[in-house]
């Protein structure tokens, strides 16, 4: 199978085109503006998911895909790059966007639809995809900003006081993070003279260690802030419980994971030495993220507050996997990173399912306070079962994906003799289990603590189906990932092997050093490379 690299334009082009059309559709007459937008959004997420699957299938079988935009050779043009790690993230992110869409259609109020949920969700998808596929550090910053701007609007959509409050905090802290990324990109250009990631990787090997440390520190702060790692996580628990549940479900799987992906992409590529030298730093951040996240969850009185602290806690496991990414182990180099990738996918599935279930309860009862809920297992057995599986997948019980991912991460840390971080992660798993049991008890066991006003619109079979099915699919996938762990792990290992193969990345992008031949041909001979009818390099 051969696939034109031009397909890499689609993950950005599809959401952008459909978002634009959806914004135009806001001008339509009353009954149509929502319907047209819904159709556009549904088509966009389906197409996007199919493209992502295609990219994943190709990168797993045939290797890397590189698109030099406008056929300008790297590093002069913009490079778009995909390997198996990109394919996995595109697919899982696309799947979440696909599944959150029916949930949003069923639960959103016409007002919020009119205010532009669909275009903003599509732009969020575009920013996410762009951040995954870009091979250029400044482009990464731009796509982060696209992602952030659409998430600001989604967070404030509806404009209630708590949302506005949360949006201000979220915005200020996230902007600080992306400024660090911008500064990192600018200083990279100043010191290494390039923004192309492959060329940065090439030149970083000869750069003095001060340059390496400075850039690595700035990028670490930027990405750790985006990924909600300790001590940069404060934006997450102050905002995730305020927007509409459909928005929270979308955010939980998308926003923090982009930051984690960027760490997975840049650190093995740019700073393989620092990844080893800074292992104590990574482990310290991972341990504190895990512990503070899970302890914070115990103090929370409402469903989504509690679950958003668990998002933070789980990020620590991913960072732990990154910390052992380049350590030699009996399972081969990159085993820890493979498990971390698997953990990201597992976490995206399970966390979104939990937030969908929790959000459904909040929509239905009008409250998320644990002290006011109870006895839902008797009235909603199917949803209770879905929530149960998701909660214990999060805690890491077999046969779910959580078990495989956590077991593998523990093996990776034990095999590299990092026992203390393994102990911390085990303790946090126990605490996560306790927290999930607490949540389960409050929500589903016992008797209802009060009666709730009926919400007839949510009881309609079609609406109920659209609210429950996405979570059911996610939970089923989590079980499948756990049961068919061997092939899944092989896929993750292919992705990790490609992610830590620096020379492979550099060779695939093939940035040219500035030499007479290039300058004469492309810039000064008066003809653009595209006019020469040349193939992609």
């Amino acid at each position: 199978m051969t696939l034109s690299p031009n397909i890499l334009a689609l993950p950005v082009a599809i959401p952008l085109a459909f978002a634009t059309l959806a914004i135009v559709a806001l001008l339509l007459r009353p009954p149509f503006y929502v319907r047209v937008q819904r159709v556009l959004a549904a088509v966009a997420v389906v197409l996007n998911f199919l493209v992502a699957l295609l990219v994943l299938a190709y990168t797993l079988s045939a290797g890397r895909l590189v698109l030099q935009v406008g056929t300008w050779p790297a590093p002069y043009g913009i490079t778009v790059y995909a390997d198996a790690l990109t394919g996995i993230m595109l697919t899982s992110g696309g799947l979440l966007a696909l599944l959150v869409m029916p949930y949003a259609m069923a639960s959103l109020n016409p007002r919020r639809e009119r205010l532009g949920y669909y275009p903003m969700a599509l732009l969020l998808l575009m920013g996410m995809n762009g951040a995954f596929i870009t091979g250029d550090l400044f482009n990464l910053y731009v796509f982060y900003e696209v992602l952030l701007m659409s998430s600001f609007v989604l967070l404030a959509l509806g404009g209630t006081p708590s949302q506005i409050n949360a949006a201000i905090r979220y915005l200020v802290l996230n902007i600080m993070g992306s400024m660090m990324l911008l500064l990192g990109a600018g200083l990279t250009y100043g010191m290494l003279g390039t923004l192309n990631m492959a060329q940065i990787a090439q030149r970083m090997t000869d750069a003095p260690s001060t340059v390496e440390t400075l850039i690595a520190g700035l990028l670490l702060i930027a990405f750790a802030g985006k990924a909600a790692m300790f001590p940069f996580f404060f934006w997450l628990p102050s905002s995730y419980h305020t927007p509409h549940p459909a928005v929270t479900a979308l955010f939980s799987g998308v926003l923090t994971k982009v930051g984690v992906y960027s760490l997975f992409r840049t650190f093995p590529l740019f700073f393989p030495n620092l990844l080893v030298a800074w292992q104590p730093l990574f482990f310290g951040m991972a341990a504190l993220t895990m512990v503070i996240g899970v302890l914070g969850a115990f103090a929370q009185p409402t469903i989504r507050r509690l679950l958003s602290f668990h998002i933070i806690s789980q990020i620590g496991y991913m960072l732990m996997g990154l910390g052992v990414a380049l350590s030699p182990s009996p399972y081969g180099v990159g085993f820890g990173l493979a498990l971390a990738i698997l953990f990201v996918v597992h976490n995206q599935l399970v966390k979104t399912a939990l937030l969908m279930g929790g959000g459904h309860i909040e929509l239905e009862t009008g409250t998320g306070k644990l002290s006011e809920l109870g006895g839902l297992a008797a009235t909603k057995p199917v949803r209770a079962a879905i929530f149960f599986v998701a909660a214990f997948a999060l805690a890491g019980f077999p046969p779910t994906s959580g078990f495989v991912a956590k077991l593998g991460l523990l093996q990776a840390t034990f095999a590299t003799h990092n026992y203390w971080i393994a102990g911390v992660s085990l303790a946090v798993s126990v605490l996560t289990t306790m927290s999930m049991i607490r949540l389960w008890q409050y929500l589903f066991w016992g008797k209802p603590k009060r009666t709730y006003a009926p919400r007839p619109h949510l009881e309609q079979p079609s609406i109920n189906f659209m609210l429950v099915t996405p979570a059911a699919i996610l939970v089923t996938l989590s079980l499948l990932l756990g049961i068919f762990a061997q092939p899944v792990l092989q896929v993750a290992q292919v992705a990790a092997a490609q992610a830590i193969d620096r020379q492979g990345y550099i060779n695939a992008v093939a940035p040219q050093e500035l030499g007479p031949s290039l300058v004469q041909e492309n810039t000064y001979a008066g003809s653009l490379p595209s006019e020469q009818g040349g193939e992609l390099p």
Binding site: G158, S162, V172, R305
Partner: protein
Amino acid sequence: MTVTAWLLAVLVGVLFACGALLILQRGQIKVVLGLALFTHAINLALFGAGALQHGAPPILPHEENVAELLATRTFADPLPQALILTAIVISFGVTAFLVVLVSRRDALTGGDLAPGELATVMSAADPFMLGSGLLGAGPDAYHEAADDYDIFQYEFDEVYDRPEAEAEVAHEEIPGSVGDDDTLA
């Protein structure tokens, strides 16, 4: 390093310091201004990163021996300025949005809320709810004041028969839109 570069470095440092100081202040407008200073500092840092060249054009003449040309001629690098331009546009958009949010919040919470209500609203976005004065009040009060759940206000108030609701909503002013808000004027 030239004098210009030193001046630029000092300026970037001062702007960073002022921005950080302002962001740590309590008032929202100060935070907005602090972020603006931060963006200026970073833009200037980017500018300085692109090897300041005085009086050199960002283009090279057409000559046969380019390698020699590059070795002998100085020229200004235009790329940092392109980066700065992008960053300015983005930060302008973000600052505008932040200003809208801040003024919106003042309009929503400033005028007609009692201090207790204000504390509840403010604490709704606080992960630890430190500002709500509930730390010593015991778990019940903490749970009571957790969230106002006003995000669902539309969902609860509205008839959910979709076609009708859509037709109604289409011609109403959206609550929270700037147009119907005289407190902003």
